[in-house]
Symmetry: C2
Subunit: 576 residues, 2 copies
Amino acid sequence: MRKIRAALAQINPTVGDIEGNVKKIVSYIKKARTKKADIVIFPELAVTGYPPEDLLMKPHFIQDNIDALKEIEKASKDITVVVGFIDRIEGLYNAAAIVSNNMTVDVYHKINLPNYGVFDEHRYFIEGKRFPVYNFAGINIGVNICEDIWTDKGPVEVQALMGADLIVNINASPFHAGKASFREDMVRRHARECKTSIVYVNMVGGQDELVFDGGSFVADDKGETTIRAKQFDEELIVVDIELGKKKGQLSAKKRVELKSLLEKDKFTGKVKIPFVEIKEKKTGVRKKKNRPLSVEEEIYGALLLGTKDYVLKSGFKGVVIGMSGGIDSALTATIAVDALGKENVCGIFMPSKFTSKESYEDASVHAKNLGIKFHTVPIDDLFGSYNKSLAKHFKGQKVDITEENLQARIRGNILMAFSNKFGWMVLTTGNKSEMSVGYATLYGDMAGGFAVIKDVPKTIVYKISEWRNKKAGRELIPGRILWKEPTAELKPDQKDSDSLPPYSLLDPIIKAYVEEDKSFEEILELGCEIECAQRVISMIDHSEYKRRQAPPGVKITPRAFGKDRRFPITNRYKSY
Amino acid sequence: MRKIRAALAQINPTVGDIEGNVKKIVSYIKKARTKKADIVIFPELAVTGYPPEDLLMKPHFIQDNIDALKEIEKASKDITVVVGFIDRIEGLYNAAAIVSNNMTVDVYHKINLPNYGVFDEHRYFIEGKRFPVYNFAGINIGVNICEDIWTDKGPVEVQALMGADLIVNINASPFHAGKASFREDMVRRHARECKTSIVYVNMVGGQDELVFDGGSFVADDKGETTIRAKQFDEELIVVDIELGKKKGQLSAKKRVELKSLLEKDKFTGKVKIPFVEIKEKKTGVRKKKNRPLSVEEEIYGALLLGTKDYVLKSGFKGVVIGMSGGIDSALTATIAVDALGKENVCGIFMPSKFTSKESYEDASVHAKNLGIKFHTVPIDDLFGSYNKSLAKHFKGQKVDITEENLQARIRGNILMAFSNKFGWMVLTTGNKSEMSVGYATLYGDMAGGFAVIKDVPKTIVYKISEWRNKKAGRELIPGRILWKEPTAELKPDQKDSDSLPPYSLLDPIIKAYVEEDKSFEEILELGCEIECAQRVISMIDHSEYKRRQAPPGVKITPRAFGKDRRFPITNRYKSY
């Protein structure tokens, strides 16, 4: 049986930190060498972090990234390294360097550049045109990058036709719930159809709104997953990959097949095959697959990692959270503690005359359960001061949304004062249902550095909270928070349901309209009244200006707000 | 002499308002017919407004835009119409419909899709592959769209080689200072080199951060501008275009030339030439060119139109502005009055113990000069209330930036209260110098719906203010505001120069770093100290999180913040 020992280096680089990333890469190369790996594989753009966005416009940034390859070359004695970086040849390429024995033997250029959803790769990169297959002591290896594997009749098929025994696909693939298994199934189908083993190496870590979830894996040439890394954590997996029967030279028939494919896809360029010495065969070192995660585990894992990396990579240590006694701030505080440790989280309770006794009990018990700092700052005096200062100007005007917003903004100011004074980042607590319909106050509860659950619909907020309590084996989040009716407590006896349809109805409308671009007729089929659907859609459309000023938060759905959904603020289109 | 009477319909559509835009288009067709025009030409995506962004993901939006063409067909009796819309054939095209005598005779698909700067056209559209030339009663007309004219060896050259006597280029070309003359020179060069008249029709109007500045024009086949529309205003210009000697059929030589060009650019597809009846020749109706604007006129015109359209198209009538007695709020208020009328502008002066007597005098005299509502809301009591509420928690801590930010945030809250109570949009007053280095308070002076001068560097703020006073023939903005030293008045004797280098040095560094991606070495050549350059660059990099939560504002430079500069917040790259 032919074998190759591969090390999957599922690392968490930081955008822009070329020096730090290269240090990490070099340390993983050393570990892989210790474990006698033939080849060590890093994610897409591991050198720069992903996505570097408009840093790519800076010529000195590109140069620093190219210079950094020298450090990797130096570290590559007796091992082959595949690592993502930016190549520059009269333009930029999203590239993979194949570095072996102290030299860069070839550079692969990504062919399929995604320019949808959160991706802007046509803004920066030129499409590659070559798909080399490397002969590695008798084993043929094809390298390609992320989106390259998402098309049929693309680089994977071409490299397989050219005789690749193994395809190495390096990634920075952003998470949304359910994507990991979808992705793995797709890659396994390729492996089965091409009769070629595939090593899929993903980045891990949070970058602004994105989380890269790891979950790297190997699929054998029958399409079975033989090894799977953890999601949401760095890991070096060293594994012996058994390769099928040698594919050998291309048959005449295959050449013809390949030729038409090449022409069809307008690929040009020659195939370069450098030879590299393979080391002696060894027995495997890692055989256990990590199990796939449940939906709740996946979402919670993404929220935790996204929050942790945003806070820490931004240079903060602690966070401060307005705890209202409601479910959203309860879940946010719980995630913060799991991500940063209880000593780095502070809860502030800011009651008004509209705040119930139960809210205080629930918030304070929860804070105690979490073991965090917890302060109470009442806002009634402040609210009184504003009313006094404005009385002359608002004479004869009715009490309205102004006074509700004022309370929320006083709370925002208090949290920001704690942030400024102690260097803690404010985490905001709004969920996707609220962000969609604009049930939130700009500069009030929307004020803060990171919006942990902004892409989590309210119905899922409940599910995850229940899951977290179950995992804790106790009511870590007090039970009443999970079943009492949601309220903003900004006026007497206020309930969310006064202003909004029930969340069980609202959330499917939001999904259909925001994430799936369904028409009005299709939305009515969800079973809501015409007037209700119109009102929800209108609220979503008219809240774009608020979302544009919201802090970033973790993407967990196929379409989050932010780079994922680019909507005009000035917009008179009516979908109903 | 062969002539064609063309009507350049420089209109201001609203994104998403398909019904309203088509009504406007039909009314302009009627006006053009009254003036006996042979052809009436509308801007790029006139039917939907530009850029529709992710509205393009909604199938029903596309369908509504296609259905709208029927209204235009109905209105096109005895006249030919060129109008921008979205075509759909297994994907979307940025298209121009050629509608004549109640039917759509052809559809042109934009070939060059911009995907840089503020543009995302690869996100939405497929590239066109055909470049038809229409025979119009013996006159050959080539139609193309915006970016198509910005490349040599592109659609313009091909259509000219195919015998086009006239090129019609329709646009939604976003403004930055100096672009109009650059654009006109480029088009004139094409006309001269191709020996073909070119009609350039641009959109006018504000859309979120963009302003389309109009300035449509005709260049004759010698490359001279024969007519020029106003900038920043709707206009229908009817003009008789004299065409050169008939180009006739393609010569054998030209066919060969064309063939190689076609192959080079990978263009395919047949040329379709529908015949349209031309009306009898008439004498010209418009011969006067509008003069090009000065830089100050251009920038002020863009700020005025951008503000007016953002406020009015968002459904607001009035605005409220915090007037500090400083230059930024003075210029913002002046623009607001010019854009919306003095009866729709309210100034709020919010003094603290750090506010000077001069500040009050300057703000109140200016408000009086403008004739606007002006209220004073002191903030000391409110500031005292916050300090009291926070005293217990901040015990033993020094007074620092927290207290400065608190004052700014109290002012933000007051302005937002006026906004909520009276339905006025808050205009923020920060300039580009401040936005760059983060010399502004989130949820404080950054709180509001539109940031009028966020892309105007401080040095230009002064220039434009001086120009506006000169135009008024008096000190509309009190003279002292123009010469006194800038201060935020958030602590005793504070001056901008305590925290920042002089603006005359700061602004060139910002331009070099933000707009031109210059390296550290190149920035030092501007004549600043190493430590100063390091500090400015570091401040710019570390303020990205603030900018991400800023309201939109008018783009007037080649690279504004916003869609124009997509920067990671989490970013450890150091340019120095």
